[in-house]
């Protein structure tokens, strides 16, 4: 039921191909590692092989003696800099001082200990092996529940309980709701640690110009402007002396929504050796030293009436933080709390979070960031409740959805859901799979001894991060539109797209508003010296906030264009269409190029009007947006091996108005791939000593093209009232909707054996054991 209405002569709503793709798929784009500079040196970071250890000595002479090595720096050299920043602020948050290099102790495998610089990348790598570090290994703790139990080794000696914070939030009266309940279901549900695995690892190039005292930092990041402010802070450098440039970014998924030690470290090295310096992360470093995602142990309780009406929800989250706070580490589980009610009318909720330090790399935002955990939990609990009450999982959802008349809907967690029609995508998805016949087929399959499952998830999502009061560092976005003297159009966006395709969608919006050919528009981003301050791309905000800022800048610019048009046409009112101003009375028109020339040559100006055609808007969103949708997954489980086959994947997503259905399909597919990865394959495993056992792509399985099912993607379209485009955001929806649908499907396939829950990933052995044991875990 694609309800996109395409207006004639408009680009918005059309699935045009991405402007970015030719350079990306022909290998002519410039990624960080493509940057070469005269006299450039190369840095390699020496990292801890231990999960926890004291450093009793470092000897660098052998490394320094290697021909071509220019410098080696250790913790003492950078003790005065920093710390690596965190923006999360919670009451009583314990924040360990996060030095750029370890001082006398390492806290996780991969912890930076020294940096080696050489004239050649190979020499630098060889020299790194010659840095001798004396470690005295210490007991480690890598499991968050064990970390907060009595007697666990202390990650940071000053906080022996390993508790970085506790957080409580409630709405309504959960205790009363649980007293009134006919039925209470409880379940421990985990969302395992995941490795984001962007195809391009992180990397930094720093160029220091001592005469100008100016630093140019190239970084593969999602947040160039925030990085400039924060790295300037770490280095004690005036912010306006630092320029951050984001080249092509080969995937971020939240792992590049951060400021890492290496950005400041490489800049520091460049200043010290007076040469440009490049550092590119290896895949092993990417696994060990770039943030991980998820890492939840959740305890859920749902109170309901016998008719299926859900009354109350209690949740305790134990969040595996890792050893340090990266930019948003502690804030991520608070997003889970905000979204814990899902799409349902829970009036009474109570939530607690315990943030646990572990001897692991920090967790932080990874595609979905807090919402996949919450959605997985509530969608599993709804199924568990339905099974308890012997209700159909679709029926119990329809019964408890927030109703269309209730929007904007105030949740018990303090949010205001903007708009919705929650039953629509579910009904659409049920119709697409012909749900009653699917259930009949499942019954026949069971009679034949086959294990077929049907899983639903109806997810809610919080996007367009966000109103500034709710954000750690501003939630607005900026846009500048310039008509150049030739009439060509340049868009500068503070959003920093890195694969999302805003060069295309922003050009579509601009082309429609100005009536110019899309080829005349250039969308520029990711350079703090070129683009006005911005926030960046994450939290499905690029179009919903950055696109809205662009829309408003275009309105300002159109008003100014019309003033110049009226002046040229010697009239007082003109219309702007098809790239020209028209005087409807006389039929005379002036092209955008003519108007642009007039605005810049400025021989004559309209009253109270400055020369030039430039408009800038910083737009503050009044609310988040709340996409939603329904995913249905049909699985067949191999009774003998526990292997799961996905027979059908139907996704009906309501993400508000759609700018480009082709790009939306790409986001849904990519999102589902990462959701499937969590559901079926992925798990970052540390052993008890802090070794990352799943430390290579040969061990850690991510979705591959050949392992993906066909995704039947369609949409209902409920515009958001929050922004003038009516868009909501789609970057994370697929991931959020996916994992509970898959797990619900497999649990459904095994439910007659007594299985009511399985934790991810659903490895064949785990499933086989449940089958072999007749459902007893």
């Amino acid at each position: 039921m694609a309800t996109t209405t395409i207006k004639p002569q408009t680009l918005v709503g059309r699935g045009i191909r991405r402007c970015e793709d030719p350079r990306l798929i022909t290998g002519t784009a410039t990624y960080l590692d493509d940057i070469k500079m005269p006299g450039m040196h190369h840095a390699v970071v020496v990292r801890s092989p231990h999960g926890a250890a004291k450093i009793s000595g470092i000897r660098t002479d052998a490394a320094l003696a290697l021909r071509g090595v220019s410098a080696v720096f250790t913790g003492a050299d950078v003790a005065h800099l920093g710390p690596v920043p965190t923006a999360a602020s919670l009451p009583g948050l314990r924040v360990p001082h996060h030095h750029l290099l370890a001082q006398d102790r390492v806290y996780y495998q991969g912890h930076p200990v020294a940096v080696v610089v050489a004239s050649d990348r190979y020499i630098a790598r060889d020299a790194a092996d010659l840095v001798e570090v004396d470690y005295e290994p210490l007991p480690a703790v890598t499991d968050p529940e064990k970390a907060i139990a009595a007697g666990a080794p202390a990650v940071h000696p000053e906080w022996p309980d390993n508790t970085a914070f506790t957080y409580h939030q409630e709405g309504g009266d959960a205790a009363a709701a649980f007293q009134q309940a006919d039925v209470i279901v409880t379940q421990r549900i985990t969302s395992q640690r995941l490795i984001p695995v962007a195809m391009e690892t992180r990397g930094v190039v720093a160029e220091w110009r001592p005469g100008e005292k100016s630093m140019t930092l190239y970084s593969s990041t999602q947040i160039p402007h925030l990085m400039r402010s924060l790295v300037a802070g770490i280095l004690g450098m005036p912010e306006n002396h630092l320029r951050v440039i984001t080249p092509e970014v080969g995937g971020g998924f939240g792992s590049k929504l951060n400021v890492y030690a290496e950005e400041a470290l490489v800049a520091f090295v460049a200043m010290r050796i007076n040469h440009p310096v490049k550092w590119v992360e290896s895949r092993r470093e990417n696994f060990q030293a770039t943030i991980h995602g998820r890492g939840h142990v959740d305890y859920y309780e749902v109170a309901a009436k016998r008719d299926g009406t859900m009354l109350g929800l209690k949740l305790k989250i134990i969040q595996d933080l890792g050893a340090y706070h990266q930019l948003l580490t502690a804030a991520i589980p608070t997003l889970s709390v905000l979204m814990m009610p899902g799409l349902y009318r829970f009036k009474n909720v109570s939530a607690d979070i315990v943030g646990a330090f572990t001897n692991c790399v920090p967790t932080d935002a990874y595609r979905g960031a807090g919402r996949p955990e919450a959605t997985h939990g509530i969608e599993r609990m709804v199924d568990i409740l339905a099974a308890e009450l012997k209700m159909d999982p679709a029926e119990i959802r329809l019964k408890n959805f927030v109703q269309n008349s209730e929007f904007p809907y105030a949740t018990a967690t303090g949010l205001s859901y903007d708009s919705g029609n929650y039953a629509a995508p579910l009904k659409e998805a049920l119709a697409q799979v012909d749900y009653p016949s699917l259930r009949a087929e499942q019954e026949r399959a069971r009679a034949e001894g086959r294990l077929m499952g049907i899983g639903l998830s109806t997810y809610g999502e919080i996007c367009a991060m966000g109103p500034s009061p709710a954000m750690p560092a501003g939630g607005w976005e900026s846009a500048t539109v310039k008509i150049e003297p030739s009439g060509k159009v340049t868009v500068l966006t503070g959003a920093s797209p890195h694969g999302q395709g805003e060069e295309t969608t922003f050009a579509q919006i601009t082309a429609d508003e100005l009536g110019v050919p899309i080829e005349d528009i250039m969308v520029v981003h990711g350079d703090t010296a070129t683009v006005q301050y911005g926030i960046g791309t994450f939290g499905s905000r690029g179009t919903a906030v950055g696109g809205a800022a662009l829309y408003y800048a275009l309105q300002d610019l159109k008003a100014k264009i019309k003033k110049f048009g009226a002046m040229l046409l010697k009239t007082d009112a003109v219309t702007l269409a098809n790239g020209a101003c028209l005087d409807e009375k006389s039929g005379n028109s002036a092209s955008l190029a003519q108007i642009a020339t007039a605005a810049y040559v400025a021989k004559e100006l309209p009253p109270n009007t400055d020369p030039g055609l430039v408009a800038t808007r910083f737009w503050e969103p009044p609310n988040f947006t709340f996409p939603f949708g329904a995913h249905i997954v049909v699985t067949e489980v191999d009774r003998e091996t526990g292997q799961i086959e996905i027979r059908r994947y139907v996704a009906v997503d309501d993400i508000g108005r759609i700018i480009n259905p082709l790009l939306v399909a790409g986001q849904v597919h990519g999102g589902v791939a990462q959701g499937l990865g969590q559901a079926l394959w992925e798990e970052a495993i540390y052993d008890d000593t802090g070794q990352l056992v799943s430390g290579e792509l040969s061990e850690y399985a991510i979705a591959k093209a050949a392992s993906m099912p066909w995704i039947e993607s369609s949409h209902t379209e409920t515009p958001s009232p929050v922004n003038p485009l009516g868009v909501k955001g789609v970057g994370e929806a697929g991931t959020i909707g996916c994992s509970p649908a898959v797990v619900n499907s497999v649990v459904d396939a095994l439910s007659h054996l007594g299985v009511r829950h399985i934790d991810m990933p659903l490895t064949p052995e785990k499933v086989w054991k449940l089958i072999a044991q007749g459902g007893r875990a």
Binding site: Y122, R283, T641, W681, S698, E699, A701, T763, E765, K769
Partner: protein, 281 residues
């Protein structure tokens, strides 16, 4: 990821390669699908790589007098698609088609694979079931070993440091035979968590020849003659595979425990036998 410094030579003849191999800490490069990743992780650091990829004829595949001769540098893709192998030894073609992915099959070679002897590699099951032989050369001379004597243990073969695998010889399968390579690939690496290669001949519903070999389950591949005997004695498939792997150790890792691997080997063997029997002409 950056390996340690090494010398690289690409001899144009086998004799030149053997001469280079005779001294020093040297490694043969035969596709590089295992060696190069190990070098990038600095788990292997040879002083010199001798690339066998430029020796004419070392990748030839031919059939003569009931034997298929496969040059050590034949790629997995060549083995998967060669008419001689598809026609006369389809079990090997089917096995090659399940290795890694297209890129790996285009680069990796059979000689490189069997000399590396990864316990989770695919060929060993098929080569044991096919009773293949391995032809080795050195400056000292030549010798031919049954593959079952060439493969000793995980990452361990009878190959001497100065020897090169020149050729693998595989007797052609009987035209009436059924065959199957049944594999459970690791979702990350694509290696065989368990792989079972089966050949059968049958007459009047009775199995007259059976070969069952297993890779991935334990430290090295093995042929299970206990299962084969039960099949010849008329046991049902389920009864025959119930003893599979007895007396052999099973590996355990984060993906699959020893118990699960053993179970998977039995399930895979039963499925391979069912398919193979259905293919008997």
């Amino acid at each position: 990821m950056i390996p340690q410094t090494f010398e690289y030579t690409a001899p144009a003849t086998l004799d030149a390669a053997l001469e280079s191999l005779a001294s020093g800490e040297r490694k043969l490069l035969a596709g590089g699908q295992s060696l190069i990743p190990l070098m990038k992780l600095r788990l292997a650091a040879p002083d010199e790589l001798i690339d066998l990829g430029h020796i004419p004829g070392l990748n030839e595949i031919s059939e003569a007098a009931g034997t298929i001769h496969i040059g050590a540098m034949a790629t997995h893709h060549a083995i998967e698609t060669a008419a001689a192998i598809r026609g006369f030894c389809p079990l090997l073609a089917e096995t090659a088609s399940r290795i890694g992915d297209v890129q790996v099959r285009n680069m990796g070679t059979i000689g490189g694979s069997i000399a590396h002897a990864d316990p989770a590699s695919d060929y060993p099951a098929a080569l044991l079931a096919l009773e293949a032989r391995v032809h080795l050369v050195s400056q000292r001379g030549e010798r031919t070993l049954p593959y079952s004597e060439f493969l000793l243990d995980a990452f361990t073969t009878a190959l001497e440091p100065d020897e090169i695998v020149r050729e693998i010889e595989v007797p052609v399968e009987g035209s009436s035979e059924g065959y199957r390579y049944e594999k459970h690939p690791h979702p990350a690496s694509g290696f065989a968590v368990v792989g079972v290669a089966v050949r059968v001949q049958a007459r009047g519903g009775k199995i007259t020849m059976g070969r069952v070999a297993v890779t991935g389950m334990g430290p090295h591949a093995f042929r299970d003659e206990g299962v084969e005997r039960l099949l010849l004695d008329g046991a049902s498939i389920s009864n025959a595979v119930a003893v599979l792997g007895e007396g052999h150790d099973a590996n355990s890792d984060t993906y699959a425990s020893a118990d699960y691997r053993r179970h998977l080997a039995r399930v895979s063997a039963a499925r391979a036998l069912t398919t193979a029997i259905s293919r008997v002409a």
